[in-house]
């Protein structure tokens, strides 16, 4: 019960803060690489929640899922980087506001 002193609310606020930083990045930046990083932040915000509630309920499942999320994040980054490479090859830029040719 070493960590029992920290209430669950704080974990949640921390997670929300990290998540909102990720969203902020997505909303304000135009660079695809920054996007990837922001998404990574949001995933890890979710991880914080998972771990916090694993502890809160005394259940291992949250912890295991944290691991899985990391693995999926790795996969996502791999694909994301690949997409960014293709994007760069086609538009000579990694600016997401330029790749708008798939709209209507």
């Amino acid at each position: 019960m070493v960590l029992g002193a920290v209430p669950a609310e704080y974990y949640l606020v921390l997670s929300a803060a990290v998540f909102c930083v990720g969203i902020f990045g997505i909303l304000t930046r135009e660079n695809a690489l920054i996007f990837l990083m922001s998404v990574e932040l949001m995933l890890n915000a979710a991880n914080i929640n998972l771990i916090a509630f694993a502890f809160y309920w005394g259940n291992l499942t949250g912890q295991v899922f944290g691991l899985f999320v990391m693995a999926l994040a790795a996969a996502e980054v791999a694909i994301g980087i690949g997409i960014i490479l293709v994007l760069y090859r086609n538009f000579d830029s990694v600016d997401v506001t330029e790749a708008t040719t798939l709209k209507w």
Partner: protein, 680 residues
């Protein structure tokens, strides 16, 4: 002999086959399809006679052959055959006239080198087929279908010479005027189906029998849907609706205007239309469903008055016409007026009798006129003829026989039938329905005019000196013209003895064959004439009244008066138009002649109805349609186009904007949940 009925559908199928053959292969046939038509109608005639004999021996047939809408529906729609004395006799008349018209067409069309003959014979075949099918229909819907087909074929045939100016317009007029009446008929058919759940003509399940059960005060009323009206009122409405189609087809006032124009068609077609098919279809329909009309005194009175009025009205116009076919056209309208008068006054047998004799003598007169027209190189003006009797012996004699029949001169057929029509009107008028006496008076006045214009026509055409070069040296006609004329000429003289009622009354001999025949047949069909007599007596209050103390005296008095009037009219015409060079006496009528020549301005007012009233109304409707209805539709579409165009801007293709929207919506959603769920 019941096996004959199995072949009865072939009566209509044979001319239909000839229609198909003439249409597809007519070009390659020696007579351009005429032979196919002649063989087919001869086959129909043979079969019809076989059916007539079978029916005469006491067998009848009332079967549904094909159900095209059935099963789990409120009412079934079927095709079927009804062969009772009425339809069997009518089948013989129609197929006989059609056969003779086909033969005559060889002379009128083939020998004159007309083009488009396969089309002509195909239409003629379809015309015959649809009329025959109409005659043996066993229900109102099937009758309506073939009624319409008859109308279509008459359109095709009247407009046969479509490259000239007149015929297409006349064809359109005939089609539209009759179609106007048929609208009412269609509504009436739907009304009958929804009211009774059946449209069968005959038998206990037929709609006349159902209507009788409903109206009979002694039976407990069956549940039929009368849409909130009194049953009698509602049935009268239905009867009048169906009557609309009848009046259109049978050219009764005020729908008669198409018929004189229909003279633009080839003359054999006119003969077919007037004698046996198109125009006869209307009155035949009334006779077919007479069990229904006999229940409705109001409708009967309407029929009688329309008939009497039309008889007189058309006869006045026939007096002044100069073209031979025009005179005949108005006489047709007038004679169908008589038939309607007979139906309206309860003279079911008299009506059918007059229908029969009229079919014969009017076909004869038209074919005779056709022969004259061939001889005159297609000049129809009677003032250019004259003296033809020496050149065309067969035509003259036959035409004379038909004319005397039309005028109602003893002992030709028209005398017997017209006399019986007037007798029925008179006795029922005397017997408690004084209204009918008015119709009778109009019919009587028309007798005089009929005698006058018929004899005038004969004198102008055949007598006196030739008044033009073509009349001096007329074109000869061949056997194929003379044969039908001879057959019909003999028939027109003797067919009246089918039913010489005065002879029966005087001598007591059982010679009223048509009465007996139409009275035969099984009771179950409920189509015998004495059943109709009971109905008119019980429901319409028709009973027989007499003058001078007996039916015989009444009959002789009536016959004497009508014969006297006919002779008076004929004599007047003879006196006026005798001589070698007759003068144009009708010009002395002055303004009246102008009025009559213009057909009482019927066409003008109908054109005004169409152009002045309907066109404007439809123009207003069009404006409403274009402006309001289309405006709403166009408005809806442009609103959605516009809003779609604006909403499309949302899709910028920029990921950031999508993300911003998602976040915004998430916020709104969370806010809503928070507010509703009371999170704070």
């Amino acid at each position: 002999m019941a096996g004959v009925f199995a072949y009865a559908p072939a009566i209509a199928a044979l001319p239909f086959v000839s229609f198909v053959v003439a249409l597809l292969a007519g070009k390659y046939m020696p007579k351009k399809g005429a032979l196919a038509g002649i063989i087919a109608t001869a086959g129909s005639l043979g079969l019809s006679i076989a059916v007539l004999v079978t029916v005469f021996l006491g067998e009848t047939y009332n079967e549904t052959l094909y159900t095209f809408v059935g099963g789990d529906v409120p009412f079934e729609l079927t095709f079927g055959l009804l062969l009772d004395p009425l339809s069997a006799a009518m089948l013989v008349i129609v197929s006989l006239i059609a056969f003779l018209v086909h033969v005559f067409s060889l002379g009128y069309m083939n020998d004159e080198g007309e083009t488009g003959l396969p089309r002509y014979y195909a239409s003629l075949g379809l015309f015959t087929a649809s009329m025959l099918a109409f005659v043996f229909s066993d229900n109102l819907l099937m009758a309506f279908m073939f009624f319409e087909l008859v109308g279509l074929c008459s359109y095709l045939l009247i407009g046969f010479w479509f490259r000239r100016a007149g015929p297409p317009s006349a064809a359109k007029k005939a089609f539209l005027v009759t179609r106007f009446g048929d609208y009412f008929f269609l509504v009436g058919v739907v009304g009958v189906l929804t009211t009774f759940g059946t449209a069968q003509f005959a038998g206990e399940e037929g709609f006349p029998a159902l209507a009788e059960t409903v109206l009979n005060p002694e039976t407990t009323a069956q549940a039929v849907n009368t849409f909130g009206f009194e049953p009698a009122t509602w049935f009268a409405i239905l009867g009048l609706l169906v009557l609309g189609g009848v009046m259109g087809k049978s050219a009764q006032f005020p729908f008669h205007t198409w018929l004189p124009d229909a003279m633009e068609g080839p003359t054999p077609v006119s003969a077919l239309i007037h004698a046996a098919t198109m125009v006869a279809a209307g009155v035949f329909l009334v006779a077919r469903m007479y069990g229904f009309y006999a229940l409705l005194p109001t409708v009967l009175a309407v029929i009688a008055f329309v008939g009497g009025f039309t008889a007189l009205f058309a006869a006045t116009m026939g007096v002044v016409k100069n073209e031979i076919k025009q005179v005949l056209a108005y006489s047709t309208i007038s004679q169908y007026g008589y038939i309607m008068l007979a139906l309206g006054t309860g003279g079911y047998v008299a009506a059918f009798f007059h229908l029969t004799t009229h079919a014969v003598f009017k076909a004869l007169l038209f074919l005779g006129a056709g022969s004259v027209i061939i001889a005159m190189h297609h000049n129809e003006n009677m003032w250019d003829m004259g003296g033809l009797k020496d050149h065309m012996r067969v035509t003259y004699l036959a035409f004379l026989s038909g004319s005397l029949a039309l005028a109602g001169i003893f002992p030709f057929s028209g005398f017997w039938s017209k006399d019986e029509v007037l007798y029925e009107a008179l006795v029922h008028g005397l017997g408690g329905s004084p209204l009918l006496l008015g119709a009778y008076a109009m019919g009587l006045a028309a007798v005089f005019l009929t005698g006058f214009y018929t004899i005038r026509m004969v004198l102008l055409t055949f007598h006196g000196e030739a008044r033009s070069d073509t009349a001096e040296d007329p074109h000869g006609v061949r056997w194929n013209v003379k044969l039908p004329l001879a057959v019909l000429g003999v028939l027109a003289a003797v067919i009246g003895f089918l039913n010489p009622l005065p002879i029966q009354k005087l001598t007591g001999l059982e010679v009223d064959f048509l009465h007996q025949f139409l009275d035969s047949g099984p009771e179950a069909l409920l189509t015998s004439s004495h059943h109709y007599g009971d109905l008119t007596h019980d429901y319409a209050g028709y009973s027989v009244g007499t003058i001078g103390g007996g039916e015989t005296v009444t009959m002789l008095a009536g016959a004497g008066v009508s014969l006297g009037l006919a002779l008076l009219g004929a004599g007047l015409a003879f006196a006026l138009y005798r001589g070698a060079e007759p003068t144009r006496h009708t010009e002395k009528l002055g303004g009246l002649q102008t009025l009559l020549m213009h057909n009482y301005y019927q066409d003008e007012y109908q054109v005004w109805l169409a152009e002045g009233l309907t066109l404007r109304l439809s123009g207003a409707a069009d404006t409403f349609d274009q402006g309001v209805i289309d405006g709403v539709v166009n408005g809806v579409s442009s609103v959605s186009l516009f809003s779609g165009d604006r909403l499309r801007r949302l899709q910028t293709g920029i990921v950031t904007n999508y993300a911003a929207l998602i976040v915004l919506c998430l916020l709104v959603l969370l806010g809503a949940f928070a507010a509703l769920g009371g999170w704070f």
